[in-house]
Chain length 230, copies 2
């Protein structure tokens, strides 16, 4: 627990706060590793319990079901990226430079120093890339949205949108660009790894530079006056 960051997440996501107890922390740690390993569909609480030498019933005391656990993990990631952006853009005046850092953090969230011992941020990043959007693509999205389950994402998007508006106050789609940059970062890493004909960038191993350059290119093209602009 190097730095004193406290990830604040909606307390309706869990039955008992997993950050507070060793067992809860084990659930977080091992669910990240296991979902990454076998995929969210094959993942369940029985397998998780076995992996961490606990019991199914114990896991159910922390989370109602695996879907809420996923939202918890995804929210964690959104919060963590927000936090990275905050510390890395602190004291930087120029909004253009701030946006560049934001893009870097979208693409390279995993490369930052881990801040909490029971969360492997690098694996979590892989998990978000592969499974992240499943958190809000469900029939319960409206209800869960009312309960504030996605507020961390909204806060992150608003933070980025503010920088976009600072760069170009005339730009009509600051939030859409912000969410699109985030989704694009994840999508095109995934495409490059699994469906390369859907993108033009390549990634190898831990090097996502081309994705970063592409998103910068998109952002620059959109935020500086263009003939096509209406």
């Amino acid at each position: 627990m190097a730095i004193g960051i406290k990830i604040s997440l909606n307390d309706r996501l869990y039955l008992r706060d997993p950050q507070e107890t060793p067992l809860g922390q084990k659930i977080i740690r091992h669910s990240i590793l296991l979902i990454d390993e076998i995929g969210f569909e094959a993942f369940n609480f029985k397998k998780l319990a076995k992996r961490m030498n606990s019991t199914e019933a114990s896991v159910y005391r922390y989370f109602e079901n695996k879907h809420l656990l996923l939202i918890y993990l995804v929210s964690w990631y959104w919060e963590w990226v927000s936090y990275l952006i905050d510390i890395n853009t602190m004291n930087i005046e120029d909004p253009e430079r701030r946006l560049k850092i934001i893009i870097e953090n979208f693409v390279y969230a995993s490369k930052e120093n881990p801040s909490i011992e029971y969360v492997n941020e690098s694996v979590l990043h892989r998990l978000i890339i592969a499974e992240g959007t499943k958190a809000y693509h469900t029939k319960m999205v409206d209800e869960e949205n009312r309960d504030g389950f996605f507020s961390n994402y909204k806060t992150l998007v608003q933070k980025v949108a503010n920088v976009i508006s600072e760069i170009n106050s005339e730009f009509p789609y600051p939030r859409a660009l912000a969410s699109n940059m985030f989704e694009m970062a994840n999508n095109h890493i995934y495409f490059a790894q699994h469906l390369p004909r859907l993108t033009d960038v390549t990634v190898n191993d831990e090097n996502f530079d081309e994705v970063e350059v592409m998103i910068e290119f998109f952002a620059n093209a959109l935020l500086h006056n263009c003939p096509g602009k209406e």
Copy 2:
């Protein structure tokens, strides 16, 4: 079956070709309606069989499992959008106008005349928006990609990328822009409906005009010379 279009889909997606028999067509029709209604997670073959007055075992003779059925439906959609683009851009020389039509088809696929009686294209479009990306966000993606399960998407993206390159042969990311426009169309309709703070557009009922305008704006900004371009 108004027009003589034959949707050609990878025959490894099914055990028996559902297009060939009345029961197969019933499976397609009702799976679209039922997934749209209850969501992909809650959907299963037992419920589908009950809904269409058949039996679980009969459905299993056509599709191995619900995941392959989803890929089948998503592939159908990709093929159908490809087809719409083909007929709607036929005889149009100007690539800018062709791209505009492509964007319109991405956003308004549902508004076109239905072409096959057992596929409700409007409901299918909703299904794609809500569940589409689950087709390729699984642990089996590489294997399924090797089997050609996503080739319809690749073909569609390549078709659009070609138009992009015609407009601006210097543009370095034609495929990424193509796939991004497609995903963005679906995403921002979904956001506007369920998570409006993640976008800047609004949609009401069947009117997605703002999404269309936004994607045109993005495409124009990117494809015409900008100071930010490297």
